[in-house]
Amino acid sequence: MNYARGIRDGFQYLLKTYPEVFAIGQGLWSPWYVGASMTDLDKEFGTDRVIDTPVSELATTGAAVGASLCGYRPIVIHPRMDFMILAADQIVNQAAKWSHMMGGRASPAVTVRAIINRGGEQGAQHSQALHSWYAHIPGLRVVTPATASDARDLLIASVLCDAPVLYIDNRWLYECESPDSPVVELKLEEEGPRVLRDGSDVTLVGSGYATWLCLQAAEVLAADGIDAEVVDLRVLNPFEPGAVIRSVRHTGRLVAVDDGWQTCGMAGEIIAAVAEAVEPACLKSRPARITLPDAPAPTSKTLEAAYYPTVEDVVNAALAQLGRAPAPKLAKAS
């Protein structure tokens, strides 16, 4: 099962099992907008439940919020996260706030699916990964699956959760494979960071595509006799750093990896959580972070190649933690 298939299986399970679930967003009758992640769902479940919309991010998202207040479980799809900013009021001011403002009486159980769709020299407005931005908002759960099984099971958990959830997937992961597994209904409230690979020399922490970078880097490091532990955050808000802290206490070294920008980003949050909780004597070196440079995405081929963090960057950061020289040039990831 690959990641795109995991997403599609999640939709299929939800639409088949729960009549109050529907999907609404741009491009749902034209699957190239959403990769292979929703192929033919409109044919399988009908266009009343898989709804393609006008070019109206704000009204569509608001409509999903309204339907969720009235007992439905809508999933709004934003095929490109950059355009979702047009709907930010409904996500940040409405969905995330209604429970609190209405004393817990209103429950906008809406899932907003945002797709990070970057690369291919698409440039500054077609490349953004804004998970850190939204993770700043109390009341908005933010979920970033990194594996195919999580892509499916965290989608299901998001929709079954009574709070608004921003579910963020990344098209660079769509071909990634996980072993087949049965569908499970997880309680999102109980989900959080998970150790995907055990190790004792250095802790690599990521979420979404950054987790994939960490896993690849761990393979490279293993060939060099270095045991890297990989922690996948999975849920960015509410942020529960316990698994990260436990891991760093064990390894004494930390590389926080994020495919978003550095300033006020998740990588900084990870390091802050460790700095607050881990005794200084436990740390064998200063924590490091690998992120995007604080610049909008370029379109030029050479600039784009330099822009995105690579497996090599993560490997070298881990080697530096161990006082080792950078690795010889690795093949560029993806």
Partner: protein, 418 residues
């Protein structure tokens, strides 16, 4: 060509003049062939006049149309002129009990808001309180056609919307005072009201924010298939937000049962509509999206009730959304109990005094006393009762406890509580 966006049961618009290809300007009701449907002149004259105007608007090139000048554009005409529509309402055909309920509803809203204003003046209420005194006919007229299975959404000025749906008075005062017994458990204040048990599904102060939310509630209602409708209340200022356009387009395309109610009180905060829009009627936006629109005197509860009833009836029958523009005027300023007579282009003591002559409560009350449904003493005692109920609710709310400190975190990710 008759405009498809205008109420479809109306008689056809005047035909185009052959020599110009332009529609004839509607000379009045007679030209609409609508005499039989018209109550006597005075109160609803403007409705048909406006419909005709809007028909002709659709044929105009907006860029050639008149633009606002310092004294305001002319689109609403008499509806925006406080020297008009001062007569007692025409209540022929309306039963005394129903009218009494509507009058009582308006009086209750007014006395409640006056009491809330006093709490602001005394310093007991600190949160922003937006009063709608003068606009009571609109929620009372709209809710006349709704029940608890419908889904009403409001904005920053929504005490009346909440009360007209039957929202609890004690819970309103407690909410405005930030008390645990409030309709939003004291977490929202005046601007975040919630009473789904009455069909009032929430108000928030981000301008225009509940317009698409109501569209979603209408989508849910359509999926439910039980004939419920959603109502989005917003003001003329919110008509300047892009989301109204998106929401009208979606609701029209998807044939959703939602009534867009623009309470056009001619001001957004301190800004006269003439400073903000090239036309003073917002129904042109409905026109653009083929949503049937009616423009009424918003200080005539019966005109509002009739127009809302027709549009809601169409929605319940599965024929899509409607747009009701109700023209009114708020007696207080944008926020708080101050009269704000020193803001805007027109707002002055004289203008306010003139609008108070178009008092929605007085006009219905006068018609009822003239017919013998009520005496002046009855109305006085309705007022006194409503004021006493509001005073008692205020007293109870003042004595009620605040939420516990843990409430700050209790509801951030709350589970469905009901």
């Amino acid at each position: 060509m008759a405009n498809p966006g205008i109420w479809r049961n109306e008689p056809a618009a005047p035909r185009a003049e052959p020599e110009t290809g332009r529609p004839a300007r509607a000379p009045g009701n007679a030209a609409r062939g609508a005499v039989a449907m018209d109550p006597p002149a005075g109160n609803t004259l403007g409705i048909h006049d406006l419909l005709a105007r809007l028909d002709s608007l659709a044929e105009e090139n907006y860029f050639d149309g008149p633009t606002a000048d310092a004294t305001g554009p002319a689109r609403l005409g008499a509806l925006a002129d406080p020297r008009c529509y001062r007569d007692p309402l025409n209540i022929a055909g309306w039963g005394a009990n129903g009218l009494r309920a509507m009058l009582g509803g308006m009086i209750a809203i007014r006395e409640t808001e006056i009491a809330l204003g006093r709490l602001v003046e005394s310093g007991d209420v600190v949160c922003p309180v937006h009063l709608a005194v003068g606009q009571e006919a609109i929620p009372v007229g709209v809710s006349h056609n709704l029940d608890a299975s419908d889904r009403v959404f409001g904005g920053h000025r929504s005490h009346g919307h909440y009360l007209a749906q039957g929202g609890d008075l004690d819970q309103l005062f407690a909410e405005v005072l930030g008390k645990d017994a409030g309709c939003s458990r004291g977490m929202g204040g005046s601007m975040h009201l919630f009473a789904p048990e009455t069909g009032f599904w929430g108000s928030v102060p981000i301008v225009g924010a509940t317009i698409p939310v109501a569209v979603g509630a209408a989508l849910a209602a359509k999926m439910d298939g039980k004939g419920a409708v959603a109502v989005a209340y917003f003001g003329d200022g919110a008509a300047e937000e892009g989301v109204l356009h998106e929401a009208l387009n979606m609701a029209s395309t998807m044939k959703l049962p939602v009534l867009f109610v623009c309470e056009n009180n001619l001001y957004a905060s301190h800004m006269d509509i003439a400073q903000r829009q090239p036309h003073d009627s917002t129904a042109r936006f409905a026109h653009a999206h083929a949503v049937p629109a009616m423009v009424v005197d918003g200080n005539d509860a019966l005109a509002v009730a009739r127009a809302a009833g027709r549009l809601i009836g169409e929605s319940r029958a599965g024929r899509g959304p409607g747009y009701l523009e109700a023209v009114s005027y708020r007696w207080y300023g944008h926020v708080g109990p101050d009269e704000n007579i020193d803001v805007g282009l027109r707002r002055s003591a004289e203008e306010l005094a003139a609008w108070k002559q178009r008092d929605p409560v007085m006009r219905l009350g006068a018609a009822m006393t003239a017919r013998g449904d009520l005496t002046d003493a009855d109305i006085d005692s309705m007022r006194a009762d409503a004021a006493a109920r509001a005073a008692q609710a205020a007293e109870r709310a003042l004595a009620a406890p605040y939420p516990e400190a843990r409430a700050l975190f209790d509801y951030v990710f709350a589970r469905r509580a009901g």
